[in-house]
């Protein structure tokens, strides 16, 4: 138990030997009733509430993904013989799918769920720096999410069944709110009333994101325990720190963009709408100044999860720690300089295009550094094919596909041809789904025993993950091909020669659904019938594995002293007791924290 050396005053004893709360008392059982959850300041409970919310949003977004893929089975209308109604339905479906998945699932999934749960424990702290702000951030999220989903769903119910929900106007602008679609000009004027409500929802969600970022930055700066300098932090914390920097610097720009668009709609101020003196390209600049960094809000924490999972389940110290840590920061900084690559055909100057193209290529450097380091970590490691590890390996392959096709798109000459086609759709799904979703699942499987004190079933978990992998590639690989052949995105109809690809893609979507449901049942089964999890089922050395599973309300009775987070060799499997046991003397030597150091 060297990672937690008793502090100088001698009160603290290693948590595993002598947990201070009464036996069986943990954050789940600490208090009862729905209100004790809704008003809880405990970061772990807030994380779990985010988990429920985020998974609900994922379910809704996923259902609409299946609906829109089904509509695309045939070139003509599939659900509804009336073309106009079918197209309206489709426009609402893909807007809802995109907006809900982006704003309510991919952005908050890893930082808000896994970040909230593990960040303070990894820091050996009792909570985040501002627990009340954290709860406020959750309320903003849940309020914004309900509001946003209501507006979008209302539009679909209205378009398909004629049910008029009060205020539920729907949105068919795509998740990007491009002007002039969103400013009520042109053919979309009739249905854009949902824009105002949806923008308010996004504004509230943005607040949630900003406040979480503020909280994480302050926590990482101020709450690190003894023995944890910046370069002793788990790489998950580096990733969350870089993510938070983007959240606090980019999200306010989305907020002001939303406010300007609202001002445009409500009081007729002309900033973006060309009909009243505005500039629609300025809108695109503003929007992508947020939304490109937002892509890294999604992928950076995913990379943090992967660093933890790969090292732990390969039983090997992470390779190139400093490079992985610095590359997170490098990605965060570069993310602010590449937004123009979304606008290569929007009328930017050729010089700006060339500069943005060059900067886009440069993001590949830190991203590749990470991939090489993960692979090097696995090299000659003692790899355990746990579900978390299987998901992480899927991540590496899918991220490589997504990242490399990003370079195709960053190349100007190629981009001009495939922009606005399914090639783009496939590329960003490889990054946002193939990568972020697999990393989220890897993190869930990795920390599920810590969150709920139950082990997941290995065979079913792996089967689910591999089904998902097959389904995912079936869905999106054909989209690369049809995109390269010129199939434009966002259309409900297409020439007959593309039907083969669309059919394969739709079948893939259903295979993905089977994989995801297998995973969902696997996780739920673990909750109800899973084997009880020990404090450290993986033999990992970051601090969260030094407190019981599930953790007690206060995490640690006494602030622990951190050692080397990737010192996995000090944990040895004891066949007699069937658990991981720490060689304290070895861990202390590796960490350089001899007990004598602390007698001052």
């Amino acid at each position: 138990m060297s990672a937690i050396t008793p502090p100088a005053h001698g009160i603290g004893l290693p948590v595993e030997r002598e947990p201070s709360p009464p036996r069986g008392d943990n954050y789940l059982t600490h208090s009862r009733g729905i209100l004790s959850w809704l008003f809880s300041l405990d970061h772990k409970r807030i994380g779990i509430m985010y988990l429920v919310g985020v998974l609900t949003a994922f379910l809704i977004g996923g259902i609409f993904a299946l609906l829109l893929r089904t509509e695309l089975l045939t070139p003509g209308p599939t659900f509804n013989s009336n073309k106009a109604e079918a197209w309206t339905f489709y426009n609402h479906c893909f807007t809802l799918h995109g907006a809900v998945m982006v704003f309510l699932f991919v952005i908050p999934a890893i930082p808000a769920v896994l970040g909230n749960f593990v960040l303070p424990i990894m820091l050996g702290a009792k909570d985040v720096a501002f627990p009340r702000l954290n709860l406020g951030s959750f309320w903003c999220w849940i309020g914004g999410a309900i509001f946003f989903t209501y507006v979008l769903l209302g539009g679909i119910l209205n378009a398909s069944f004629g049910w008029h929900l009060p205020g539920g106007y729907g949105l068919d602008t795509g998740w990007t709110f491009y002007t002039p679609y969103s400013t009520g000009q042109g053919p979309h004027a009739h249905s854009t009333d949902g824009t105002i409500a949806a923008l308010l929802g996004v504004f509230i969600l943005g607040f949630s994101s900003i406040l979480t970022g503020v909280n994480f930055i302050a926590s990482i700066h101020m709450l690190r325990p003894k023995g944890m300098g910046w370069f002793r932090m788990p790489l998950m914390l580096w990733a969350l720190y870089a993510t938070s920097v983007i959240q606090i610097l980019a999200t306010p720009v989305l907020a002001i963009t939303g406010l300007l668009l609202l001002a445009e709609r409500v009081i007729g101020v002309g900033i973006f709408d060309p009909a009243i003196g505005g500039d629609p390209v300025l809108y695109q600049h503003f929007f992508w100044f947020y939304s490109h960094p937002a892509v890294y809000i999604m992928i950076l924490p995913a990379m943090g999860v992967i660093s933890e999972v790969i090292s732990t389940h390969s039983r090997k110290h992470v390779f190139g720690y400093n490079f992985i840590a610095y590359s997170s920061i490098a990605i965060a900084l570069l993310s602010f300089l590449v937004w123009g690559h979304h606008m290569f055909v929007s009328g930017q100057s050729p010089l700006a295009n060339a500069i943005f193209s060059l900067l886009t290529f440069s993001v590949a450097v830190p991203s590749a550094i990470k991939v090489f380091n993960w692979v090097s970590t696995m090299y000659r490691g003692d790899i355990r094919f746990t579900t978390a590890m299987v998901c992480a390996m899927c991540f590496i392959v899918m991220f490589t596909f997504g990242g490399l096709t990003g370079l195709f798109l960053g190349a100007l000459s190629n981009n001009i041809h495939v922009t606005g086609t399914y090639f783009i759709v496939a590329h960003f799904h490889y990054v946002m789904v193939g990568s972020v979703l697999f990393a989220f699942l890897a993190g869930l499987y990795h920390w599920w025993p810590k969150m709920f004190g139950r082990m997941t079933d290995l065979a079913w978990g792996n089967a689910g993950a591999l089904t998902l992998l097959v389904g995912f590639n079936l869905t999106f690989m054909p989209q690369f091909i049809m995109g390269a052949k010129g199939m434009p995105r966002r259309y409900a109809t297409y020439p007959v020669e593309f039907q083969g690809y669309h059919v394969v893609s739709t079948i893939g979507a259903y295979v993905m659904a089977i994989g995801l449901f297998t995973i969902a049942f696997n996780l739920l089964h673990a909750l109800l019938k899973g084997e009880k999890a020990p404090a450290n089922p993986w033999g990992a050395n970051t601090l969260e594995w030094h407190c019981p599973s599930p953790p007690p309300h206060d995490n640690f009775p006494v602030e622990p002293v951190a050692g080397d987070p990737y010192d996995l060799k000090s944990w040895q499997w004891d066949e007699a007791t069937k658990q991981w046991v720490l060689d304290e003397q070895r861990a202390r030597t590796v960490a350089g924290t001899e007990p004598t150091v602390h007698h001052h």
Partner: protein
Amino acid sequence: MSDLVSKQQAAVTLAGDPFSPTRDPHHGHPPHLAHHFETPEQQYSSAKVGMWVFLATELLMFGGLFCAYSVYRHNHPEVFEFAHHYLDRSLGAINTIVLITSSLTMAWGVRCAQLGQRRGLVLCLVLTLIGGAGFMTIKTIEYHHKYVEHVWFGAGNRYSKHYQGPSINEGPFGGHQSESALRMTEGERQEAAADKEMMAPTTQPTESFGPAFVDPNAGTPDESKIKPTQVIPAGLSTRVRPEVGEEVRYEDLPQFEKDRVSTFFNIYFLMTGLHGIHVLVGMGLITWILVRGARGAFGPLYYTPVDLVGLYWHLVDLIWIFLFPLLYLIH
């Protein structure tokens, strides 16, 4: 940080200090220390880091507006030169002084809190509050003028194509004339008119450039809703260049610039409006710490809220210091 620690240590030794720390005997830690912090210094520094990070988000949010301002000013400089005459420089300058003074009293208030001077703190916060209220009052007067003169935002702006108010000739300032033009004496007016006649060939060079806009989709459902009056050749400056000392007049502006005049007012109202909302929020926060301060909540050991509200107030002040020259002092 070390400053703070030494102040706290000094305070602990002060006898008879009304804010002397009362340690809770049951828990053995200072009363304001939350359970997840180890020391009050850690808690104070965390709050400070959090506030600075939050202020960075505020800067980025206003940054969007400053960016919009820069884009429009760069593309339409003469519109800004013309339209800014509607803003009252003296009121703006007075407001700047009012806000800077309130920042001084705020900073003084933070010091009073640190030293445990309750009366000083209350006085400073009341003065700051008066400063904020004064600022908002003057701002309201300015907004009222704009409203009366029909240079309001959106369709309430006489220069907007979608203007819906009474005919502009019935307004207090007549037609499309700048305020300063109206203050001219009859002699000056004649002189200016003569000047304008002389300048006519050089100040209206761009109207004739470029072919007329032809919508290829005219008559179809795809017909453009935007009807530019002309297409500007790329690379040619459209800038109206008055002689040194002469002001840009509405009549001198090409038509497409005339259509952009209302944009200046829209940007003005958005920037000052968002700033005004921040002033109101700041006044709310100051009221909150004023009530707590009057009850003696703050002293050398605990003044974090005063400090943080102070930081916020200074930021709001700082933003105005940028807004004032950018909007009122254009030349």
